[in-house]
């Protein structure tokens, strides 16, 4: 906490000195920072705040199959949670869907974290020269040069009933009938989500690891810590901001994902995004808006909880 207030004080000082310069130049000193921030603020206002406000407003409107009526009603929210309490302990559609999405979130988060941290660790501590670090790092981003959909569907010929994996396993005599669970299953969804989003973990964790003062590690070793202790006591705590940022990326993306779950799950796996899409297709915009608001709230609660774990503004 004290550290945080120190930084804050420093920042204030900085700003004070900046204002000093401004007055010296006699240009509207108070206005300049606002003007500088204005373009971004405007972009946010037009492309983020307004649509969001519209979504929230529409979520309270009534609708028929071909029109929406601007009248305040809680009907849409009521519809979403209909029978949810009555049916407990059986789960209603909404709870079931969120639970399923949450399950994917946690599994994919654990997978991307493990793999992402390992890659970042290797890049930061085992690749010696900066040049090679940069090269290896760029190599990691190469898959991102193609579209997300292409990276996803390229798994299909591999995992299919008559796909490469099954044919190889059969020809090697390991299995006799093709594995059905490889494609259009939870496994396929987790595999492709992990594949798609591991880089989101690698980048911020790598960034954090690079900032670790190497003398700290030497000091730990001098003090008699073994490799595992250095990792858990020194490196991981210092990499926390990177881990956290990566986690926020992965969790928010997976929560809203419906494309991957749709394609890799054979559209048999429910996701909140898919429900919203179906409702939009049937012109039930207010219902879709209500679902979107609930999803947003759920994601915000998750992010808020994560931010409680670390002071991200300080760490950046």
């Amino acid at each position: 906490m004290t550290e945080a207030s120190d930084t804050l004080a420093e920042a204030r000082q900085d700003r004070a000195s900046a204002t000093g310069h401004g007055t010296a130049r006699r240009t509207g000193p108070m206005l300049v920072p606002y003007l500088q921030a204005a373009p971004m603020a405007l972009v946010f206002l037009i492309f983020f705040v307004l649509p969001l406000a519209a979504t929230v407003a529409v979520s309270f409107w009534q609708y028929t199959q071909y029109s929406i009526v601007p009248a305040i009603t809680l009907e849409n929210y009521n519809d979403i949670f209909q029978d949810c309490l009555r049916d407990l302990p059986d789960l209603c559609t909404t709870f079931r869907t969120y639970l399923s999405t949450l399950k994917f979130c946690l599994i994919v988060w654990a997978m991307t974290l493990t793999i992402g941290f390992t890659i970042a660790y290797f890049l930061a501590f085992h690749v010696r020269t900066l040049k090679f670090q940069v090269i290896c790092f760029l190599l990691c981003t190469v898959p991102f040069w193609t579209s997300i959909v292409i990276r996803m569907i390229s798994w299909i010929p591999l995992l299919g009933r008559n796909g490469l994996v099954n044919e190889t396993l059969i020809s090697m005599g390991i299995i006799h009938t093709p594995l059905e669970g490889l494609l259009y299953s939870d496994f396929a969804v987790i595999l492709s989500l992990t594949h798609l989003y591991t880089l989101f973990m690698v980048v911020p964790i790598f960034n954090s690891l690079m900032r670790i003062d190497r003398t700290l590690i030497e000091a730990a070793r001098d003090a008699g810590a073994n490799g595992f202790q250095i990792l858990t006591v020194v490196i991981i705590p210092l990499a926390r901001p990177g881990i956290l940022i990566g986690s926020i990326f992965v969790i928010t993306v997976v929560m809203g994902d419906f494309l991957t779950m749709g394609i890799m799950g054979g559209q048999q796996i429910a996701s909140v995004g898919k429900i919203i899409q179906t409702q939009m297709q049937f012109l039930q915009f207010p219902l879709a808006a209500a679902n979107a608001v609930i999803l947003l709230a759920a994601v915000l609660v998750g992010v808020w909880a994560l931010l409680k774990l670390v002071d991200i503004r300080k760490e950046l």
Partner: protein, 423 residues
């Protein structure tokens, strides 16, 4: 040859004359030139209905440019309702009409301006084939073909001067099979839920169509008799979804699909061996050299139809051009082109004029192909001797059991469908 004669006949003097004339018109770009400006029609529909060859030919014959706006099945009605200014002509499914017409964004088309209005296929105009009634469960086109007047938002029960949609294409869907991967005879929709095909069937994830396929299967299995499959009561919807959830939990389905290409891929890759399919999708699997059968079934077909409609905002030259294009569309060339892809056109007689007798015999009369059957792009679809699945036009369209539909309880149905997906 012609080039040569022209060349020899063209003297330097005549070229100069021509150039002078051109310069003359350019110097006076008066109203005359302005009126010659070509009209562009923005044509909204699914990609499946948008053949580049049709646009090209129309442009050649009529001097009207067609600009395709391609979206997917669900996006068509959404565009009509939310952005009626963004197109000049829409090719929409008839089953969307109960949503589109009350919105007031479409306008009735003047029957007097459609040359061949009396020649429209009877299955669309009257719900009959050869004078015999076909199934009318669901949103049958003849029930939603007419409006009370031009700006009416309700359907007329009797034929009037005002048409909602002029048919472009229609056909009947049934189960598609991979005969090389199935070793039993399929005669009923019930096979979709047959445990023998556990993990190898698929169903559409477009709720309004998927539930109809499911209903055909569940009714065929003898679980229930629906009042109207295309307009279920809440109890019927509950029952149908319950049965679907049972099947899903038992692992009956390999995947759900929502567009043409997905259904083709599922079938071609062998992930799925039996599923409800669109006739041209079966053709598409076959052109990859993979055996695929469009299987006629005891219970009949689920039919669909789509047609041209006009947005309320259209007027002036665009409106004239739209009518001109529609009249051209019904005059045969387009009908023949679509027939060769496996669709049926609005006016059969004119399409026939543009097809070779052997083509007509294959596509419409259920006869053996006398020579190789070619797709519009010149690829061989079938070798000589082949017979079209489902037989003749009368056999197919005469055996329609129900039509794609939007139910009165649509909202409830969509909610229950989401339950099925989440189950």
């Amino acid at each position: 040859m012609t080039d040569k004669t022209l060349k020899t006949g063209t003297s330097r003097r005549s070229v100069l004359k021509g150039a002078a004339a051109l310069a003359g018109t350019a110097a006076f770009p008066a109203p005359f030139v302005h009126a010659q400006e070509r009209v562009t029609l923005r044509y909204l529909s699914t990609a499946v209905n948008q053949s580049p060859a049709i646009a090209e030919k129309a442009s050649e014959d009529l001097g009207i440019d067609i600009e395709y706006i391609s979206v997917n099945t669900d996006e068509v009605p959404r565009r009509v309702i939310t952005q009626p200014n963004s197109f000049d002509l829409v090719d929409s499914e008839y089953f969307s009409l109960p949503n589109l017409v009350p919105s007031g964004n479409m306008v009735g088309m003047d029957a007097n301006r459609i040359d061949r209005i009396d020649e429209l296929a009877t299955v669309i105009a009257k719900g009959t084939v050869n004078g015999e009634k076909v199934g009318s469960d669901g949103t049958a086109p003849h029930e939603v073909l007419y409006l009370e007047d031009k700006d009416s938002t309700t359907f007329a029960t009797e034929p009037t001067e005002w048409i909602t949609l002029i048919p472009t294409t229609y056909n009947a869907d049934t189960l598609g099979l991979r005969p090389d991967l199935i070793d039993k005879e399929i005669t009923s929709w019930a096979s979709l839920l047959d445990p023998d095909f556990s993990g190898k069937t698929a169903i559409l994830n477009i709720p309004s169509i998927g539930i109809m396929d499911a209903a055909m299967a569940i009714e065929a299995r003898g679980d229930i008799t629906y009042g109207d499959k295309g307009n279920m009561t809440r109890e019927e919807i509950d029952f149908t979804i319950e049965k679907l959830i049972e099947a899903k939990r038992a692992g009956q389905f390999r995947a759900f699909w929502s567009n043409f290409q997905e259904s083709v891929n599922l079938m071609a890759s062998g992930e799925v061996v039996i599923q409800s399919m669109w006739s041209p999708a079966v053709t598409a699997v076959r052109t990859q050299g993979i055996e695929c059968v469009y299987q006629p079934l005891d219970e009949g077909y689920r039919a669909w139809a789509s047609g041209f409609g006009l947005p309320r905002t259209i007027d002036g030259r665009k409106e004239d051009a739209a009518y001109e294009f529609i009249n051209w569309f019904l005059s045969g060339w387009a009908g023949a082109h679509l027939s060769r892809q496996g669709y049926y056109p609005a006016v059969l007689e004119t399409a026939k004029e543009y097809m070779e007798p052997y083509e007509w015999a294959y596509w419409y009369e259920g006869k053996e192909a006398e020579q190789d059957i070619l797709a519009p792009d010149g690829r061989t679809l079938e070798e000589a001797g082949a017979v079209r699945d489902g037989g003749s036009y009368e056999e197919r369209m005469g055996a329609v059991a129900c039509w794609n539909a939007v139910m009165d309880e649509n909202q409830y149905m969509v909610r229950k469908w989401n339950e099925f997906i989440a189950a």
